[in-house]
Amino acid sequence: MTPLLSVRNLKKIYGRGCPNCLSSPPRECQDNRCPRCAAIIACSDISFDVVPGEVLGIVGESGSGKSTILNCINLTLSATGGQIFYGHFAEGTRDILMVDAQTRRTLQNIHFGIVYQNPQLGLNFQVSGEGNVAERMLVAGHTHFGQIQTNVHQLLQRVELPPSRYKDLPNAYSGGMQQRVQIAKALINEPAIILLDEPTGGLDVSVQARILDLIRSISREFKVAMVMVSHDMQVIRLLCQRIIVMKHGRIIESGLTDRVIDDPREAYTQTLVHSTIQ
């Protein structure tokens, strides 16, 4: 199957870097820090594909580089090296890390959607919930007010935001509602792929369960591919067909979700699985 997204040797370094840590793979590095120049290696040598409609999980402890990957794909963070190809842009032949600012905004606004754990990052708190979603349609070039309103209300209904709350400002929403609006915002322009960064982190379990059910049904209904970051193996088991396990900014293991959970290969993966699955 032709990949929708191909990430090749993605690297993100905080600091100037030196030949030691800029090499692939970084030499002499036991963890996230280059022993020669003390630069932080947020991620290095990251390569993977996402095929249309699949849900790919990225797991690993805090600081292992999971969110860095999502932000590099979404072009909100500029990568130090590597390439990313996206099937709906130049038929997957041009590296999206090299595009100009205008193309970058088009990719961010129309082709990708992102849902953050922290709604402060994903929502504009100065405008209402429906305004947040409508804004995305405006930047995508829609001008017909009635059409925008119809689409936004349809989607907000689908993500189960109570209609009486459409016009409220995001700070008046519960954590679960904020995530629902973020999900609607990510989906409104019908992107082929959405990126989810711990979308249920910090929510209580019953709200978490309902948001997960929503994400699960949306991935099927909208046939949208997802890359989902989580440290919760139960969440990953429920949603993802394949997963990538990260440690110290590098991929240490990848595989079918049930394979990684039932037969983890690496020491860290074994610890992760045995500490979270009863």
Binding site: S254, L256, D263, Q270
Partner: protein
């Protein structure tokens, strides 16, 4: 007859990093071949690697060494140990079914939706998928009041039947069965056995583990008998027996 699955010198070892890299041999150097439409029974004592073997074929476990060739009807073949995860998912969806020993219900998904999900994922209309599910429910004797309930609350036997239905609804050409009758009462066991015999008539190739020797003999065209995986495993077993004997003596 045409070969359907061919396994060459398959070995599975687990390396347990948390136990200082201790290695456990699940099975070693297993080879067999199964023709299209035949039933291969797997026998062997508990701990001899029967389930592990099936899991390796389905890539629920990684293999340590060996080849697993899946043949198609046009003479082509593919080594399941060499293909990508994406390709393996496609084979799981289109050509292979696996019924595990334990059913893991998907939280908050109803019986009906659990069973029709494989068809929905393939793009079937919901109504059409439900018609097929309903005929399976009848065959498997699942009463209508359970269709819209969550399987997590069901009895072991009901869960096991739902597990089977979810796999069978999509008519896989190769079916891997890990003790599908283990938690069933006699009536339900007979239903499952007759369904498996019907699948045999439909030329579905099957590899199955059954603890009951009568069931194994009834269904199998051939039987693969697994031996103990290595001296190490046997020593541990003897050790365990010795411990049990000592314990019994102390209690007495």
């Amino acid at each position: 007859m045409a070969t359907h699955l061919e396994v060459n010198q398959l070995t599975k070892r687990f390396k347990l990093h948390i136990l200082e890299g201790k290695e456990i041999v699940a099975f070693q150097d297993i080879s067999f071949r199964i023709d299209r439409g035949r039933f291969l029974g797997i026998s062997g004592k508990s701990g001899y690697g029967k389930s592990s073997l099936i899991k390796c074929i389905y890539r629920n476990y990684d293999i340590t060494a060996g080849e697993i060739w899946l043949h198609d009807e046009t003479g082509g073949r593919v080594d399941l140990t060499q293909i990508s995860d994406i390709e393996m998912l496609a084979i799981r969806h289109r050509r292979m079914g696996y019924v595990s020993q334990f059913f893991q219900p998907i939280p908050r998904v109803t019986t009906m939706n659990v069973v029709i999900e494989p068809l929905i994922d393939k793009g079937w209309e919901r109504e059409r998928a439900m018609v097929r599910a309903k005929s399976l429910f009848q065959l498997f004797d699942i009463p209508a009041n359970l269709w819209d309930a969550y399987p997590s609350t069901f009895s072991g036997g009901e869960k096991q039947r739902i597990n089977l239905m979810r796999t069978l609804i999509d008519c896989p050409e190769l079916l891997l069965l890990d003790e599908p009758t283990a938690s069933l009462d006699r009536n339900n066991r007979e239903i499952i056995l007759s369904i498996i015999q019907e699948l045999k008539r439909q030329q579905i190739t099957m590899i199955g583990i059954f603890h009951n020797p009568d069931e194994l003999a009834l269904l199998s065209d051939e039987i693969l008998s697994l031996e103990r995986p290595g001296e190490e495993g046997n020593a541990a077993n003897d050790n365990r027996l010795a411990t049990a004997a000592r314990f019994a003596f102390q209690v007495g």
